[in-house]
């Protein structure tokens, strides 16, 4: 009987082109808008993750600790223990990695590890002669570091090879270079260590994350050790793994094994990731309101239609249609509009997303990019379809139920 109900539904829908196309339009725009905003917000998120992974790596191994399972319990006034935390808060940390060779060997035993770079971090002032700038200095072995980062592709002027061959070479973040008007080959002075260090700019890098681009310098590990007067120890490891999504488990395993603090990128960038998530969810909720409104519009159309169509329902019932057949006619109508809406809305969303990704747009905020960043993800379309199905489902289900309850004798009596 469903094909008959479907056929009637099609006729009813096409006989009400204006009301139905308004409902359809609402769904189309709602879905398209949903897809586009998700593509954008998650585009920036994915961009951020890719950048941060390419810059700071998947895993950071730092301070050694001794007490692994500190337990903190919070006791409330009446004496009962309300909250029990397991934490490392009371652990005694030894800053940095004391015996890098041993830790490195232990890390290399993990099959998922694809690269290990030892980094010594410090703060200093960079002096170009005319201007000064406070910087975060990262001392590293460039060959190792290329294994754990995307630095090679982030260098926009000069090259990483120059740093590899020049022990007093330095890679400068693009925003620092802009401020200090630096170019590859320029001489600079690093101030703030045991003694000032004369350096030469090997290259300028841009990660796209401005917090990094305006603060960071890369130079040779041994050069930085002598500048900071730290001949050994105190360094951290940046580790890359084959599957960055599996980091959480690996990090926990590493921590158990090597007794150092091991932090995966998800945990490290938690604050940012949460900001992105909040942004994504809030935009989804906001945009869903368009779908909600079109659902309400549709409900209105269907509710009026059930009243208009009560004679037809009565005669259908009199010729042997069951209440279920009748409600199927109305549910199908919602289904037809929904189906068309999902198809057209997804197509519109897809095209608009593509269009937006082509818009040249220079952003220099938390990120820097030269066009809108979008993320292509089927799940955006599925979510849009799911949400609109929910709203349209309710919008047609309630009138359909009402139609099924129409008493034919009553309607026929009232019509005559």
């Amino acid at each position: 009987m469903n094909s008959l109900s479907l056929k009637l539904a099609l006729r009813f829908v096409f006989a009400r082109k204006r009301a139905m196309s308004m409902s359809l339009l609402g769904i189309v725009f709602g879905i398209a808008f949903f897809v586009v905003t998700q593509a954008q917000t998650s585009g920036f998120e994915v961009f951020f993750i890719r950048t941060i992974l390419g810059t700071n790596g998947s895993i950071r191994v730092s301070d050694r600790f001794q007490d692994l399972d500190g337990t903190v319990s919070k006791v409330s006034k009446d004496g009962s223990a309300r909250f029990i935390f397991r934490s490392r808060e009371n652990a005694r940390y030894v800053e940095g990695i004391e015996y890098p060779q041993i830790v490195r060997q232990a890390l290399e035993d993990f099959p998922q590890v694809s690269g290990i770079s030892e980094i010594l971090e410090g703060t200093a002032v960079l002096d170009s002669g005319s201007r000064k700038h406070v910087v975060q200095v990262h001392g590293l072995r460039i060959k190792d570091h290329l294994m754990v980062s995307d630095l090679e592709n982030q260098v926009i002027h000069g090259s990483v090879e120059r740093l590899a061959s020049d022990r007093s070479g330095v890679l400068v973040g693009s925003r620092i270079a802009e401020r200090l008007r630096l170019e590859p080959g320029d001489r600079v002075t690093l101030i703030g260590g045991t003694e000032n260090e004369q350096l030469r700019v090997s290259g300028i890098f841009e990660t796209g994350v401005s917090q990094i681009d305006k603060n960071r310098l890369y130079l040779d590990l041994s050069t930085l050790r002598s500048f900071l007067g730290k001949p050994f120890g105190g360094s951290v490891f940046q580790v890359s793994v084959k599957d960055p999504d599996a980091v959480a488990g690996i990090a926990a395993q590493m921590q158990e094994t090597i007794g150092h603090r091991v932090v995966g990128w998800q945990e490290r960038e938690k604050v940012w990731l949460e900001v992105f998530k909040a942004l994504r969810v809030s935009s989804a909720i906001t945009v869903s309101s368009i779908l909600l409104l079109s659902g309400l519009g549709m409900f209105n159309v269907f509710a009026i239609m059930v009243i208009e169509k009560s004679r037809d329902v009565a005669i259908l019932r009199s010729m042997g249609f069951t209440p279920r057949d009748v409600s199927a006619v109305f549910l199908w109508q919602g289904g037809i509009v929904l189906f068309a809406g999902i198809l057209l809305g997804s197509a519109l969303g897809f095209l608009t997303t593509y269009g937006i990704s082509r818009i040249p747009l220079r952003i220099r905020g938390i990120f820097s990019t030269d066009s809108f960043v979008v993320n292509w993800d089927l799940s955006h379309y599925l979510w849009a379809a799911l949400i609109s199905t929910l709203f349209v489902g309710v919008a047609s289900w309630i009138p359909a139920r009402r139609a099924a309850r129409i008493e034919p004798a009553k309607i026929i009596r009232e019509t005559l």
């Binding site: 006989a15 037809d312 005669i315 009199s318 042997g320 249609f321 004798a409």
Partner: protein, 236 residues
Amino acid sequence: MSTPSQAGSDPLLLVEGLKHSFTEAGERVRALRGVSFEARGGQVTAISGPSGCGKSTLLYLLGLLDRPEAGEIFLGGRPMAQADDDSRTALRNESIGFVFQFHFLIKELTARENVALPLRKAGSGEEKALEQADRLLGQLGLGEKTERFANKLSGGEQQRVAIARALANSPSLLLADEPTGNLDSENSEKVFQLLLRFAREREIAVLLVTHNPDLAERCDQCLPMRDGLIALDLES
């Protein structure tokens, strides 16, 4: 009236002590107060009487659109008054045809599609149903207008389409509530002739509610109603 057999064959429709009332604004309106009669296949039975005497109420009960308070309706020997909804719905599709004063055609469908609906509901394929609809419409003199949408037909034509729809599943009982009420005398005559013809040809029991005494007189049986009762019962 406890033994239905009277003139050879069992009556197609047997009604016993049918009672029905409505509650309107707290007051009980007794629309039917005990109606009993029988009708046979091939016969046209006229039901007449003043407005409000319960003719339509009776027809809706017979058409299984409503349930009586008391009494029983035997259709082909089966008691239907308290049968479950599904079998009543199925019976409406298979064995009962309705024609009302208003045509109740679905305006989004063509004449033939309207007629095909009960056939489709009964399970026949679209093509077969439409062919049969065309044949019926042809018999009703509407062979030229099968593709017309329902609202593009005249009142008389619409009523004939409605009759075709009522006949589509070859019902054994046809219930017509003032089918000629909205028609001029020429069209009334046409519709009446059709009902008479189909009753004879197809052995259908036709129940015709009419205010027209001429038509009532020409029927095989006439049931004058008054105040929810059949007047004959009062007299006898």
